[in-house]
């Protein structure tokens, strides 16, 4: 069992998905706070701050309290958002994750009073993720690879254990609370101004039995989670119930970012096959070979645009009529000309799915990825593609010449 830690990539795809999800959450968290940056983080923010004490920890995690740095606090946000963007796109992950962690810790420490359990969990997960291989690519088969793999697997396992520890500790501490014992905790929580809501508070006053049900359900979930989540059969229902509970906390109690990060944290428990399926819709660093019709002027202009946008060199542009790639050569000419073909590793995509593969690799097109995924999932994307690609203007291209544009100045 122990040598498995160093021999196998146990969480390769799940770690990659987890990294993207946590960074997306962190980006959203920061963007939600940015409109209030002066009130919460500025030098004159209404926060009781500790003094900069000159210790090594202060220099690393509490730099925002330094009198010379405090007026320039917005740079921490620039650094954090930049690092988050690079982290989501998978650019220089080792350095990026360290930058995300350091900038986040400094931002959190600028205004400690706004932090909740979700922030606490996120800072721990970000630390562990610095040690995890979240690139989606396996380590090499040498000594350093074995060490890196062992550390990565152990750190990711720690992410999972940390989430279980949250529930275990919270549930054990609740054992001493009389309001949790008599089932009235939610009744009082929803009456409060900070965590309540007038409608839900009124509903609870009208039907206190709802508090009884909600409180005992929350307790049962918190007791079950630390044990049940390790059992494959229990995992799916527990994640579903957990998401419902935490979305209730997010919208009912107004702890939006806390509720959301708890839901995101469940991704660490996803089996590899779930993560792999989801990652097919997300940005990637793997290369893709795309076949463009070299006799079609419009197609070649699109190819030039793709080459211009592909500064990370993730797209290999090939020809549809006379491809260089052996994988493309295996496909029939008719198929290559009928729809755009994309080969990404072992995966073959065509038509709108090939465009989606492009969008996953070009940083500027990543912004359109959610819309593209929606179009692909509904089938509208493929229909739109077929409608546009098989109109009259493309007909002449199939015979080896095209009525739009020329190919003389466009080389592959």
């Amino acid at each position: 069992m122990i040598h498995k830690l160093a021999r196998e990539e146990l969480f390769l795809k799940t770690a990659q998905l987890f990294r993207i999800s946590i960074l997306l959450w962190l980006g959203l968290h920061t963007l939600l706070l940015l409109p209030f940056h002066a009130t919460i983080f500025g030098p004159d923010a209404y926060v009781m701050r500790t003094r900069f004490d000159g210790s090594i920890w202060s220099w690393v995690f509490h730099l925002g309290a330094h009198p010379a740095v405090a007026p320039h606090y917005l740079w921490f946000f620039v650094l954090q958002l930049g690092a988050i963007a690079c982290g989501i796109l998978g650019i220089r992950l080792r350095i990026t994750m360290i930058l995300v962690y350091l900038s986040t810790m400094n931002i959190y420490n600028m205004s400690g009073v706004i932090l909740d359990g979700g922030n606490n969990l996120s800072q721990l997960l970000l630390f562990y993720l610095m040690l995890v291989n979240t690139s989606g690519r396996p380590f090499g088969d040498n000594v350093w690879g074995a060490i890196g793999r062992a550390l990565s697997n152990a750190a990711f396992l720690m992410c999972r254990l940390q989430i279980a520890i949250v529930y275990l500790t919270a549930s054990l501490l609740k054992l001493n609370g009389h309001l949790w014992q008599n089932g009235m905790a939610l009744y009082y929580l929803f009456q409060s101004e900070t965590y309540g809501h007038p409608w839900i508070g009124a509903l609870m006053r009208k039907m206190p039995v709802l508090s009884l049900i909600g409180t005992y359900m929350t307790l049962s979930f918190q007791y079950l989670f630390p044990i049940g989540i390790w059992m494959r059969r229990w995992r799916k229902p527990l994640i579903l119930v957990g998401c419902m509970l935490h979305l209730g906390i997010a919208f009912g109690m107004g702890l939006f970012t806390f509720g959301l990060v708890m839901c995101v944290s469940y991704i660490s428990f996803f089996p590899e096959e779930w993560s792999e399926r989801i990652l097919r819709w997300m940005p990637t660093q793997d290369k893709v070979v795309i076949a463009f019709d070299e006799h079609c002027g419009v197609c070649m202009r699109i190819a030039s645009l793709v080459r211009f946008l592909d500064w990370q060199k993730r797209v290999v542009i090939d020809r549809a009529h006379h491809p260089m790639d052996p994988g493309l050569q295996e496909l029939s000419l008719e198929k290559r000309l009928h729809r755009m073909q994309a080969l990404a590793g072992q995966n073959h995509r065509e038509g709108f799915a090939a465009i989606l593969e492009l969008a996953r690799r070009l940083p500027l097109l990543v912004l359109f990825l959610p819309i593209a995924c929606l179009l692909q999932a509904t089938g509208l994307g493929q229909r739109l593609y077929d409608h546009l690609a098989n109109r009259g203007w493309r007909e002449s291209c199939r015979q080896g010449q095209c009525s739009i544009g020329t190919t003389t100045d466009l080389q592959i």
């Binding site: 122990i2 040598h3 498995k4 830690l5 160093a6 021999r7 939600l32 706070l33 940015l34 409109p35 209030f36 009130t39 919460i40 209404y46 926060v47 009781m48 701050r49 500790t50 003094r51 004490d53 920890w57 205004s111 009073v113 706004i114 909740d116 359990g117 606490n120 000594v143 074995a146 793999r149 062992a150 550390l151 152990a154 396992l157 720690m158 520890i165 949250v166 500790t169 919270a170 501490l173 609370g177 309001l179 949790w180 009235m184 905790a185 009082y188 009456q191 409060s192 101004e193 900070t194 965590y195 007038p198 006053r205 206190p208 997010a250 919208f251 107004g254 702890l255 939006f256 970012t257």
Partner: protein, 199 residues
């Protein structure tokens, strides 16, 4: 062999870290007695964690902060809750940062209440006491955002109000939203002091 050694090292690190978490989060026991200081030192800066999450009991009472301002004739404005607008927006839609802003304001009121209740002295590590912070906030509020802000601010005053909800046993017969409201008013602060605070 390399896999066994690397795996064993990683497992040992994991085991050590889990032990430290157990000592740090666990109740006072023999382990904490012997390892407590080391575990606290190890956890405090990087692995600090607190999972109370409304335990052992959620906070029952709501605390509010109110401010009023006086002009040069000594005429006082009405008491205003400076955070009412933020609360309204937070209750209207949850996908905003107003929740965190309210947590920040809530801390001012809670800290003031705590300061009064426990008569604690200024923590040397803090840049401002709760009262100093509340005064700075109240002055800024009276000068800029109070709906009845005077042309010439002469004095400010703030108070903390604590609202206790109706117990569930009395909820059927309750006539009011709150069972009990306690007010903790603070001394008015006159212009000279207010200027100092805003500076």
């Amino acid at each position: 062999m390399k896999y066994r050694i690397a795996g064993a090292c990683a497992a040992a690190l994991l085991g050590f870290h889990l032990l430290m978490i157990f000592v740090y989060l666990g109740p006072p026991n023999l382990l904490q007695y012997q390892w407590g200081n080391f575990a606290f030192g190890y956890m405090q800066n990087i692995f600090y964690q607190n999972w109370h999450l409304f335990s052992p009991n959620p906070g029952i009472n709501s605390v509010k902060f109110a401010v009023r301002c006086a002009d040069e004739n000594g005429h006082w404005s009405h008491w205003k809750d400076p955070f009412a607008g933020a609360l309204e927006r937070h209750q209207l839609t949850r996908i905003t940062g107003y929740g965190k802003v309210l947590a920040l304001f809530d801390d001012i009121a809670q800290s003031l209440k705590k300061e009064v209740a426990t008569k604690t002295r200024l923590d040397q590590a803090l840049q401002e006491t709760p009262k100093q912070l509340a005064r700075r906030f109240a002055v800024d509020y009276c000068l800029t955002r109070h709906p009845e802000k005077p042309e010439h601010l002469e004095a400010i005053q703030f108070k903390v109000m604590e609202f206790s909800p109706v117990p569930f046993t009395k909820v059927q017969d309750a006539k009011y939203l709150w069972d009990r409201v306690v007010e903790i008013p603070f001394e008015p602060i006159h212009r000279r002091l207010a200027k100092e605070a805003s500076r």
